[in-house]
């Protein structure tokens, strides 16, 4: 097991393949695969069509309600854990059965559900009379290595479920992904969680560890990661709401990116699509656009520019173009040309193609964003620092009245609300304008945003007199006033001197803000003791610690059974991690309990629950360079601020 960590991580797909093989082998010999369109790209990353064919898949169909008869009796459906899609499949099976009742006994229907089969799915199966006729399979694929040091579960629906609906049914999938990952990398000694969901993920991870503890699991397994940080998306919404200034960040503002593939649709960008079209509706053919692979190991040019501040990108590209020009083939002799064709031509032509694509992408970014970028960044920075509230509101209000965007304008409203708060009237002015533009049906979006914690509900002047609501209000109102700045200042997230060149992580937002994930990584990588880490992060209220670092504290060997039977009413389990406050006493006598700090391997895994964004990834890259470390970033998906807004619709 002496392979470098990065190549191991990029091979995690092999484990996913085995998991899928295990399922397919129980689905009969020759079968049809009926796949939900959203799962095509991820599956492509796990296995190719040839592989599927080797494992008994005869034909492949896209799942749709009206799908007619298929080639084989054995059907394997492949869908995400979404109750509507699941029911749609069951309806289709029911209608097949009504035409051909004999099929019921043939055990020919299988549904593979990503990332897991929920208990309610079993009840639905039973209630539809399909229990025993249809077999459900859990497929929990492994994290996918999208780029160097970037891992994703590619489950883009998780943010909506976990944060908007507050339905944690699939949370265990995150624990499961960590559990199998650690079989490959070894368990990190120091584990931190920031946020409620993160601490639950660690608790469940511990349950997996306990249940599947086996003698053959090498306790002295080589450890390749020192520390794990798991963080909830809602611990730093600002980083999602702000407009990124890096190349990859801006790419995600304009283009759809799925599974690390970017759809280079320069005509109809996400910015254009989200605005009202006042012209005659142009019916454009769905054109097949160029796909760019956002993976530095395939596209080295992308690797060079992905984290750059956008203002530098074009000059890098043009210097590359000049280099290419110098490699003029005419200047070479015959033998040299032969050698060139045999060894370098393919590389060069690929490089050229990549160069052209990046230039196209840059042009699009410039034409759609350059006019507004400076003003937008200025307003955002003023909001972050709680300055000029009135003109910030005017700025947002003007956009709502003119060039309103279905997601990006909401994003600004949320940012203003979280950083400077909105009065009842301001809030409603924006709501009214939004509804006039996009339709009154969207009224519910604002409730969803409030539930997700992206917007703060302003108190109604009339309601505040209502006694029954008073408790609720005092909870919400004054606490939020400037709480953002208080905490951001303590964590040094608001730089006084803007940096736009990339020496400090704030450049990812044009010098205005340091993402929380960068602060966390930096604290871990620059501290000599655990106590120092916790001091630096003391302002975080939901911080917990776990891992072998606390082994000495384990009260005997408390198993899950004991934990549960000693559970106090409505308290947390603290099975996989402990509240920092409970450690204060121990840390006084032994500030570096566990002896993990300073980190020996300087290798940190950061896991964001609810989607990480490209600006955060770039910010971690700065910390990595400054501290001479390796930071691996993982999440359930890579999402932009607009994706977060879309999850509320």
């Amino acid at each position: 097991m002496d392979q470098p960590l990065s190549s191991k991580l990029s091979s995690l797909g092999l484990i996913s393949q085995c998991k899928l093989k295990d399922i397919l082998s129980s689905c009969g010999d020759k079968k049809d695969l009926i796949i939900d369109p959203t799962l095509i790209k991820p599956l492509e990353r796990i296995c190719g069509v040839n592989w599927l064919r080797q494992h008994g898949i005869d034909k492949i169909y896209k799942m749709e309600p009206q799908l007619g008869p298929t080639a084989n009796t054995n059907r394997v459906y492949f869908i995400p854990a979404c109750i509507q899609k699941y029911k749609c499949v069951l309806d289709q099976i029911s209608s097949l059965l009504s035409q051909n009742p004999d099929l019921a006994d043939k055990k020919c229907f299988h549904i593979i559900i990503v990332p897991k089969v929920l208990t309610t799915y079993d009840s639905v199966l039973e209630s539809k009379g399909l229990y025993g006729v249809v077999k459900l399979h859990t497929f929990s694929w492994e994290l996918m290595a999208l780029d160097e040091q970037l891992l994703s579960l590619e489950l883009p629906f998780l943010f909506k479920q976990l944060f908007v609906e507050q339905n944690h049914s699939l949370l265990s999938s995150i624990s499961m992904s960590l559990w199998s990952l650690f079989h490959v990398t070894g368990k990190p000694n120091a584990i931190f969680s920031v946020g409620k969901l993160s601490s639950r993920v660690l608790d469940m991870l511990e349950i997996y560890n306990e249940t599947y503890a086996r003698d053959f699991l090498d306790k002295n397994h080589s450890k390749e990661i020192d520390a794990l940080i798991v963080i909830d998306r809602n611990q730093d919404y600002a980083s999602s709401l702000l407009t990124p200034a890096t190349y990859s960040g801006l790419l995600s503002e304009l283009f759809n990116i799925n599974c690390g593939y970017l759809d280079l649709n320069v005509k109809d960008t996400k910015v254009k699509k989200g605005k009202l079209n006042f012209g005659i509706a142009e019916k454009s053919e769905p054109s097949k656009n160029t796909m760019m692979t956002l993976d530095s190991s395939i596209d080295t040019l992308y690797g060079e520019i992905k984290h750059r501040h956008f203002s530098e990108v074009l000059s890098v590209l043009s210097s590359k173009a000049k280099l290419l020009k110098n490699e003029d083939i005419k200047a070479l002799g015959i033998q040299e040309i032969k050698h060139f064709v045999a060894t370098k031509l393919q590389q060069v032509s690929l490089f050229k193609q990549n160069l052209v694509n990046h230039v196209l992408a840059c042009e699009t970014i410039i034409s759609e964003m350059s006019n507004k970028f400076e003003n937008l960044k200025l307003a955002e920075t003023e909001m972050l620092n709680n300055r000029n509230k009135k003109s910030n509101f005017q700025f947002v209000d003007e956009i709502f009245g003119t060039d309103i965007h279905i997601y990006n304008s909401l994003r600004l409203m949320c940012l203003l609300s979280l950083t400077q708060s909105l009065t009842y009237d301001e809030f409603n002015t924006l709501v009214s304008k939004y509804l006039l533009a996009f339709g009154h049906k969207y009224l519910y979006i604002f409730n969803n945003l409030i539930n997700a914690g992206l917007l703060v509900q302003p108190s109604s002047p009339k309601l505040s007199l209502n006694i029954s609501n008073l408790g609720n209000l005092s909870d919400r109102l004054p606490k939020w006033q400037n709480e953002f700045q208080a905490s951001a200042n303590k964590l040094k997230q608001l730089p006084s001197q803007p940096d736009r060149v990339g020496k400090t992580p704030s450049y990812v937002f044009h010098g205005g803000y340091v993402p929380l994930v960068a602060v966390l990584c930096n604290a871990l990588l620059t501290s000599d003791t655990l106590s120092e880490v916790l001091n630096k992060l003391s302002v975080l209220s939901d911080l917990r610690v776990g891992g072998t670092i606390l082994d000495r504290l384990k009260d005997g060997m408390e198993t899950l059974n004991e934990k549960l039977s000693n559970l106090k009413l409505q308290s947390d389990l603290e099975f996989g991690c402990k509240d920092v406050k409970s450690l204060a006493k121990v840390l006084k006598s032994d500030p570096n309990i566990g002896g993990c700090f300073p980190l020996k391997l300087k290798t940190v895994l950061l896991y964001v629950i609810g989607g990480v964004n490209y600006a955060e990834i770039a910010a971690c890259d700065v910390i990595q360079t400054n501290t001479g470390s390796k930071i691996y970033v993982a999440s359930d998906c890579i999402s932009s601020g607009a994706d977060l807004m879309a999850a509320n619709t």
Partner: protein, 416 residues
């Protein structure tokens, strides 16, 4: 056919992909021929590289995990329980049930019949934090306890309650959801969930109108409901009623602004008071002058009716000069006019409205309004800057000559 195309060209309507044995993927051809790539478009190299099976082979599976560990990973995914198949079922404790639920193993909750163990189940599931377990337990409680008892348990456990709300919502059991929330004294939320459900399962315009009117009468007039939300619903009903009355398929379910845009194109000349006049719509739906100006500008500019745009947004002042007059802030207006490819003259009129020389110069530069740059530099008597600017213009163009003439103008006292 190559792999990538299988996915992308996937025809639905029961037309399957065919696996033709005779056609090799470009990758396979390369592997056999071991020749350098030729004769293919670069795009296809691109999509082939994207299939990571090649990359995955970098590390063999055995270097990742041992076969025993792999078996364990497969076991964990499947939710099978090796001990249970072998042994007799041990007595079910609350803790064991919860563990089985969390691990995704099959289990029956029906052994837990006392109120105490039911409560412990719920609290245990909440402490572990697995939503799947929480919801399973909640649904079990609903099956086996009377509603009042369940609601009592839920009302003091918000996380469990949220799971149940999400479940009812996703299942489309909106009446049950509304009853639950109303019973818990959260009728404003009940109203909003019903609203969301109604607009998402739209149906016919008539049905939607009926649903919304009922909702408005029964739920949005309650005390505690936000006044502004109630007003928005009332506005929505008003809008739909009018859309029904006008009965134009193009306008069905359209937003007010989209409707205004339609009226501006189709009924521009109808005066206030007429049903389809843009002005009537503005009054009925409190469209701000800013929004109105924006829509009018975009609609007419996109249709190429610049005469209308100019007549609306410019006027002559008492000295006979043309100036811009609009509710749209001048910088925003300028940016938009430039995007809409307005004439240089209109852009110049617009940027001239800006009083400060520096701001005007900056914007004139940005939108390449040469005449204004030249004029402003002349006003600032900045010969050096103007000379430099002249160099950036294409020789013998109109603006080049203007710059030259300005530089030669003897009446200007240059400061440099």
């Amino acid at each position: 056919m190559e792999d990538e195309d299988y996915w992308n060209t996937s025809e639905t309507k029961a037309k399957a992909f065919s696996f033709d044995d005779d056609v090799l993927s470009t990758q396979e051809i390369l592997a056999i021929g071991q020749k350098s790539y030729s004769g293919q478009s670069e795009e296809s190299i691109f999509s082939n590289v994207s299939i990571t099976t090649v990359k995955s082979a970098a590390v063999p599976l055995s270097s990742l995990v041992s076969s025993k560990v792999l078996d364990l990973i497969l076991l964990a995914q499947s939710g099978r329980d090796p001990s249970r198949e072998a042994k007799q079922e041990p007595e079910e404790t609350v803790a064991m049930t919860l563990k089985r639920l969390t691990l995704g193993r099959s289990c029956s909750l029906h052994v837990h019949r006392s109120m105490k163990s039911k409560t412990e189940l719920l609290d245990g599931a909440l402490a572990i934090g697995d939503g799947n377990a929480v919801l399973t337990v909640v649904l079990f409680l609903i099956q086996t306890l009377n509603k009042k008892l369940v609601y009592e348990l839920l009302s003091s456990r918000p996380v469990a309650l949220n799971h149940y709300i999400a479940f009812l919502h996703n299942e489309g059991k909106i009446t049950e959801l509304a009853d639950l929330l109303t019973m818990l004294g959260r009728s404003p939320e009940a109203a909003m969930y019903q609203f969301q459900h109604a607009v998402k399962t739209q149906g016919s315009l008539d049905a939607l109108l009926r649903k919304l009117s009922n909702l408005f009468a029964n739920h949005f007039q309650q005390p505690g409901v936000d006044q502004h939300q109630a007003k928005m619903i009332a506005d929505y009903i008003k809008l739909l009623e009018w859309q029904k009355h006008i009965n134009k398929p193009d306008l069905k379910y359209r937003s007010v602004i989209e409707w205004l845009a339609y009226n501006c194109t189709q009924h521009w000349h109808e005066g206030a008071g007429n049903a389809m006049s843009p002005l009537t719509l503005c009054q009925r739906h409190q469209i701000s002058p800013l929004q109105y100006d924006w829509v009018v500008l975009n609609v007419h500019a996109k249709a190429g009716k610049w005469d209308i745009v100019e007549s609306l947004f410019t006027k002559k002042d008492w000295l006979g000069r043309t100036t811009v007059s609009s509710h749209i802030p001048i910088e925003t207006l300028l940016a938009r006019l430039s995007e809409l490819q307005a004439s240089k003259q209109l852009l110049a009129t617009c940027v001239n409205k800006i009083a400060g020389n520096d701001d005007r110069l900056r914007l004139a530069h940005m939108y390449k309004i040469h005449s204004v740059v030249i004029e402003t530099l002349a006003k600032q008597k900045d010969r050096a800057a103007l000379t430099n600017y002249k160099m950036t213009l294409s020789p013998q163009s109109e603006e080049y000559i203007l710059a030259e003439n300005t530089l030669r103008d003897a009446s200007i006292k240059w400061k440099n």
